[in-house]
């Protein structure tokens, strides 16, 4: 079967400089983009439309990344920038305003990621100063700040939360109790390392250090869980490699890397599909490729989404046709 992947919207952001991130909200109704022009824009993209909802100005340098919070906390967006700031924006009565501005770092803020909603409104931020901050909304305009100093020597480039489902501990967990969620996230940095962090008694501790990359780790992505007792993380690097790390060990101590592919140029970004079985990879070669694990555990490229911008690619999905 040839499956058709269709372009449902092409949004002209009118950003005045290069775009660095684009992300839709939980329901897929709104698109947030950020750019070197120092702005963050929000578009209503329902029904193929593209209505500019907000043009958020507040950053004083290029904005690298945006992140939508879970809608149960309202319409909240975080952005991080070269200007060393993280800004949390919130929509109230139809207008977007700064909800919080965090300036606790000494260098560019490279990555922001909201934790699973089960943990409350919690944001992890990685900075070029090597530290990672965890900002927890405690109500009444208050944010609790926890900082992991020197998380990555030279700089932290990416953070990504583990799903609240803790698959590894499921089997052991006494049934009937509220699962004892452990807050965990993964980070990648200029020390070529992927690091796993775990909260214990309110303190963040380094849990694992995963070594495989030979250059700066540019992005990490913890795969969403569908309830299986396996954890999966993707990491990509300046070295052009993308690794898929899996852990089937319930204690979470044994992580095995598998090379997805070695690209010619830097790989900047990895993103998991909602069911955690497809990985989107993008990088310096200006291409977006989709990868899927076959039943026998091999990763295969199933499409090259952007040979040129706007190109619609049709995808032959062998996996699907087998069904």
């Amino acid at each position: 079967t040839v499956m058709q992947v269709s372009v449902i919207n092409t949004v002209d952001t009118s950003h005045e400089d290069m775009i660095h991130d684009a992300q839709m909200d939980y329901y897929g109704t709104r698109l947030a983009t950020c750019s070197s022009d120092r702005t963050v824009k929000i578009f209503d993209v329902r029904n193929g439309g593209q209505i500019l909802v907000a043009d958020l100005r507040g950053h004083e340098g290029p904005v690298w990344q945006v992140a939508w919070a879970h809608p149960m906390y309202g319409n909240i967006l975080a952005s991080c920038s070269y200007d060393r700031k993280v800004i949390v924006w919130k929509e109230e009565n139809g207008s977007w305003d700064k909800m919080y501005e965090y300036t606790g770092h000494e260098s560019s803020m490279n990555s922001v990621c909201w934790g699973p909603y089960d943990f409350g409104l919690i944001l992890a931020c990685g900075s070029s100063d090597g530290a990672i901050s965890l900002l927890t909304f405690t109500g009444e305009q208050q944010w609790d700040v926890k900082k992991i100093s020197n998380a990555h020597t030279i700089g932290c480039n990416a953070v990504s939360w583990a799903p609240a489902v803790v698959p590894g501990s499921l089997v052991d967990q006494p049934s009937g109790q509220k699962p004892n969620y452990v807050k965990r996230f993964v980070s990648g940095g200029c020390d070529n390392l992927v690091k796993l962090w775990k909260e214990e008694d309110g303190q963040w501790k380094e849990d694992q250090k995963l070594e495989a990359h030979s250059d700066w780790v540019r992005d990490v992505g913890w795969a969403p869980s569908i309830g299986l007792p396996t954890s999966t993380i993707a990491s990509c690097s300046q070295d052009g490699r993308v690794f898929i790390w899996t852990c089937e060990d319930p204690t979470g101590n044994t992580w095995t890397p598998k090379l997805l592919h070695k690209f010619v140029d830097v790989v900047w970004h990895v993103s998991w599909s909602i069911t955690g079985n497809i990985l989107a990879v993008s990088g310096g070669d200006n291409k977006v490729t989709l990868w899927k694990e076959s039943m026998d555990g091999q990763w295969a490229c199933i499409s090259d989404v952007s040979k040129g911008q706007g190109a619609v690619s049709s995808i032959t999905d062998t996996q699907q046709s087998e069904q």
Binding site: G61, S128, S175, V305, S306
Partner: protein, 982 residues
């Protein structure tokens, strides 16, 4: 470096103005914006009020507009339009042309009102003439200066009423209006076009020029071959103007990127980095002027007009002003350079005699300035010695405060210097120390003299302001020695330039890098210019670098890893481009707006160069783009006409594409909508779901539903009696088959099928009692209660009913309550223990039945939590699809509700010892905590109490009491029934 970005305090948009020029009147009340169809007069006191309009009939844009700077003529402004100058009078909210000056034969490039004679206006033109008009007689110019070359700028000297300067390509000419035939001085200022010219506000001889050659240069026109100082920028400089406060300079660059529209404020004393950036304009800044200060106001206000059609007013507070005048070593260079002026040039003698023989440096520092500069009281010599920072390489300073002297020893290469500095008694109160070289100083005597003079001047600068001078002198000494060293190698060059080495090239982000660029910023990763994210449920959002942007390095070379690595790519790529675009921009100089060339960029995008397509294709590409464009980019469409297509801005931001990729996912929204979960008719549910799966083309899932239908058929239903036969679940096609299926769909990540199967098979199991109701004993199955404990206590304490045996201490949160009681033993036991039941059953038959209950279930009860997670994850996806009811349907089948209800837990204070207790028995005094207000007996069982007065007792007693009374039985007077609800 100060980073104050919030100084902008007024932003007003004039969407339709399309103004090309702007001017602020001398009272600071109005700004005039000149559009093609109207001139708009903005009330600066209240800029947001609608501007008054003066309509004009011309097919030409206004080139320059200038208010008369004299109070007497404050209502008059001049506007040039092609070859003509129109003089407007603005009165009582209305404006009209009262005179026109016609004389130029080609387009007028600049206008300037005299600072001395209110009626005198000078105009420059491409027609090579510069006309001085007495506006009282508009018929012909008063004076015509013949320049042979077309002029781009003309400016009156601010101190000398006869002197003017004009710019012609890269040259500056100084005119004495009494000698119209020839310029009195030529300054070959720049190698390429001069865009801006500004006289020093206080010094008659000094002017600043800004040029296409990426620099601002400072000149004393008496030394036309020596540039006083250079401000190197990496981009062409459109305008550089002195500020009304001392030592400030504001520049506007010709933007290389649409983003880089900041105005930069510099201190002329330290050109290494800007003092401040005025950030906010979204497009090219077309004009900026200082609004005259109100009396008593210490703030200065900068009024700017940009192609983004906004007028902004920026407050420059005294602190920021002071930053321009801050004391740095570099400050001396200006003074040194000026005072080293060897002999006056011939030409300047032709000008009006001035008392300019005094050291220029003195002119530069007015008394006010001196007051500003001296921060803190002058120090004694002893203090100076103890605080001085002389951690300078190759230098050793021995200080002797007692004898008021010190010895500076330095060696640099082959040179050796030993300098004795003696401080007079009054130092530093306007008393200069003496400098004397002693042996073994090895530098030539000419150089000694030179250095001695520099040091004396340097110290003079300082002591005049009662400031210490040792440290600046030592640093100056070293810099002189160093520059001399370099001179020895190369051709002799101007010491001024050397001592202030042509500023370290402005980094890629002139503004940002200067502010933030620290060692911490050295490893900022190279920004992503493409990216893809899965969003929502079935979308892929991605963006890539636009097709028009190409990498400036061969594809074989990898993208740099850090932002700072970028500068390496600059120089090589950009140079050839600069040459090419230069000629193009000159054409547009006279339109009154900065050139926007799409020349190669100075930013992160500089790694990529923009494609230069042949005009035709470029044209086509552009026309396509404009359709999607916001009106903004069309505003100046007219201006773009006729200009080279390569001058059009090229989009740096590509489009963001949203792709529907649901077909790649194992879950289907259509199925989410059509799947049903009907507990009362499982067979029907399976059949309908099979049909639904077929509709979306999931034949595999349809088959699974058929199997599910078969497996749940009534004839396979397990017999309640364990002795009759083995339950179907134990059959290979029973639980085993189901497990195989779950395994398969797990590998496919098909959480939809997984969750639905788990729900259906749970529903198919023995009849469930809804959670939260009192359970019959037979319902105490693991699949229902999440609680593995089979002890009878779970029955008695584990209900969610509203009355319990130990009110008010029963935890209402049943989950936590049970955890504390039974979590322990289970935590230590393995699933096997659980499965085979290690608890002591009094009746073996009961145990057997429990076993049977387990066995007959198709879903392995030990994996209940995992099945719950399938449902939870699927529920999350349904939620994203907006199918909340379907989500609720699925979550009903989880063994534990998704969010355990957190109720209110009542605590009591023991009625005997007042300590806080969490049960019927006080842990401190071991007595029962709560007494009934009616019978005064401790309450063990059900109780009620008033939330207001906290009295209460046995439920039956309370019911009884309140059926007859309103007030509290304790006699506290509380109307419990009204205060709280039992």
């Amino acid at each position: 470096m100060a980073a104050r970005w919030s100084s902008e305090n007024v932003v007003v948009e004039f969407r339709d103005a399309q103004a090309t020029a702007m001017s602020v009147d001398c009272l600071g009340l109005h700004a005039v914006l000149s559009g093609r169809r109207f001139l708009y007069v903005v009330n600066l006191e209240n800029p947001s009020e609608a501007p008054r309009k003066i309509s004009r009939q011309s097919k030409w844009d206004v080139g320059t507009v200038q208010w008369n700077p004299h109070r007497a003529q404050s209502r008059v402004f001049a506007a040039s339009s092609n070859q003509r100058v129109d003089l407007y009078t603005w009165k009582d909210g209305f404006g009209e042309v009262h005179a026109s000056l016609q004389g130029h034969t080609r387009v007028i490039s600049d206008l300037d009102w005299s600072w001395f004679e209110a009626e005198y206006l000078v105009s420059s033109s491409v027609d090579t003439y510069i006309y001085i008009w007495d506006t009282r007689d508009p018929r012909k110019p008063l004076v015509a200066l013949s320049a042979v070359a077309g002029a781009s700028q003309v400016k009156w000297n601010r101190k000398n009423q006869n002197v003017l300067a004009s710019s012609h390509d890269g040259d500056v000419r100084i005119w004495d209006r009494r000698k119209p035939n020839t310029a009195v001085e030529y300054v070959a200022a720049h190698l390429s076009k001069i865009h801006g010219l500004d006289w020093h506000p206080d010094n008659e001889y000094i002017l600043a020029t800004s040029s296409q050659d990426n620099s601002v240069r400072f000149w004393d026109y008496r030394q036309p071959r020596k540039c006083l100082n250079i401000l190197s920028c990496q981009v062409p400089v459109w305008k550089a103007r002195y500020t009304p406060f001392s030592h400030g300079l504001v520049t506007v660059m010709v933007p290389q990127l649409r983003r880089e529209n900041s105005l930069l404020l510099w201190s002329t004393l330290d050109l290494n980095s800007p003092v401040h950036a005025f950030v906010g304009h979204d497009d090219v800044v077309l004009e900026f002027q200082w609004r005259p200060q109100k009396e008593g106001s210490k703030d200065c206000q900068l009024v700017t007009w940009s192609r983004d059609q906004t007028l902004r007013i920026w407050r420059v507070d005294p602190q920021l002003q002071k930053l321009c005048a801050n004391d740095t070593v570099e400050e001396l260079l200006e003074g040194v350079a000026l005072s080293m002026e060897p002999e006056r040039t011939q030409s300047s003698q032709d000008l009006e005699p001035q008392q300019s023989t005094a050291p220029l440096a003195e002119d530069l520092h007015d008394p006010e300035q001196a007051a500003l500069g001296s921060s803190g009281a002058p120090q004694t010599l002893q203090q100076e010695f103890s605080l001085v920072n002389l951690q300078i390489r190759n230098v050793n300073v021995e200080m002797d405060a007692l004898n008021r002297s010190c010895v500076v020893s330095a060696h640099l290469g082959s040179h050796q210097v030993r300098l004795v500095v003696k401080f007079p008694a009054h130092y530093p109160n306007n008393a200069v120390p003496t400098f004397q070289f002693v042996s073994p100083t090895s530098i030539p005597s000419a150089m000694r003299t030179k250095i001695q003079k520099i040091l004396t001047d340097t110290s003079l600068q300082k002591v005049k302001r009662n400031q210490n001078c040792l440290e600046p002198c030592v640093r100056q000494l070293m810099s002189c020695l160093e520059s001399d060293m370099t001179q020895e190698d190369g051709p002799p060059a101007s010491p001024y330039v050397l001592s202030n080495p042509v500023t370290p090239a402005l980094p890629a982000f002139p503004r940002v890098t200067n502010t933030y660029g620290s060692y911490q910023d050295a490893n900022i990763p190279f920004p992503r210019t493409s990216g893809a994210r899965f969003c929502g449920t079935g979308c892929l959002v991605y963006f890539t670098r636009p097709n028009t942007m190409h990498r400036s390095v061969p594809a074989s070379e990898p993208t740099p890893r850090s932002l700072s690595a970028l500068s390496a790519y600059h120089s090589g790529v950009l140079t050839p481009m600069k040459m090419r675009t230069e000629s193009q921009s000159t054409l547009r100089l006279y339109s009154g707006s900065p050139t926007r060339s799409d020349k190669d960029t100075v930013s992160i995008s500089s790694f990529y160069y923009k494609e230069r397509k042949p005009p035709m294709s470029a044209l086509r590409r552009w026309s396509v783009q404009t359709i999607h464009d916001y009106p903004k980019s069309r505003r100046f469409k007219t201006k773009r006409e006729g200009s080279d297509s390569s001058n059009r801005p090229i989009k740096l931001a590509g489009k963001v594409i949203i792709q529907e990729i649901s077909c790649l996912l194992p879950v289907h929204r259509a199925l989410g909508e059509s799947y049903i979960l009907n507990v009362s008719d499982i067979q029907d549910t399976c059949q309908k779901n099979a049909a639904a799966a077929l509709v979306v083309g999931r034949r595999d899932v349809a088959k699974v539903w058929a199997l599910a239908s078969a497996a749940t058929s009534q004839d396979l239903g397990p017999d309640p009696d364990p002795d009759i036969d083995t339950p179907w679940a134990r059959h290979p096609f029973g639980r085993h088959l189901l497990e195989t299926l779950l395994d398969h769909y797990s590998q496919m990540s098909d959480v939809q099928t997984l969750a639905m199967l788990c729900s259906v098979f749970r529903a198919q199991g023995p009849p469930d009692a809804p959670c939260g109701q009192q359970l019959p004993r037979s319902a105490l199955l693991p699949h229902h209660s999440r609680y593995p404990s089979f002890t009878s206590s779970s029955l008695t304490s584990g209900s969610c009913s509203s009355t319990s045996d130990s009110v008010p201490v029963t935890p209402w949160n049943t989950a936590t309550g049970r955890d504390s009681e039974h979590g322990g033993p289970w935590g230590e036991s393995s699933p096997d223990d659980y499965r085979y039941g290690n608890q002591a059953y009094s009746d073996p038959r009961e145990r057997e039945r429990e076993q049977h209950d387990m066995n007959k279930r198709l879903l392995d009860p030990t994996h209940v939590l995992q099945f719950d997670d399938f449902k939870k994850c699927y529920g999350e996806i349904l939620h994203r699809w907006g199918l909340k009811e379907k989500r609720a349907d699925v979550l009903k089948f989880t063994s534990c509700p998704p969010e355990p209800h957190k109720g209110i837990e009542f605590g009591v204070f023991c009625c005997h010892c007042r300590s806080q207790a969490r049960g019927t028995q006080c842990e401190v005094c071991r007595r029962l905590t709560f007494q009934c207000a009616v019978c005064h007996v401790a309450v063990r069982g059900a109780s009620n109490f008033c939330l207001s007065c906290s009295h209460g007792g046995h439920t039956s007693h309370m019911m009884d009491w309140f059926s007859r009374h309103d007030q509290c039985p304790a006699g506290c007077g509380c109307h419990c029934l009204q205060q709280s609800t039992y």
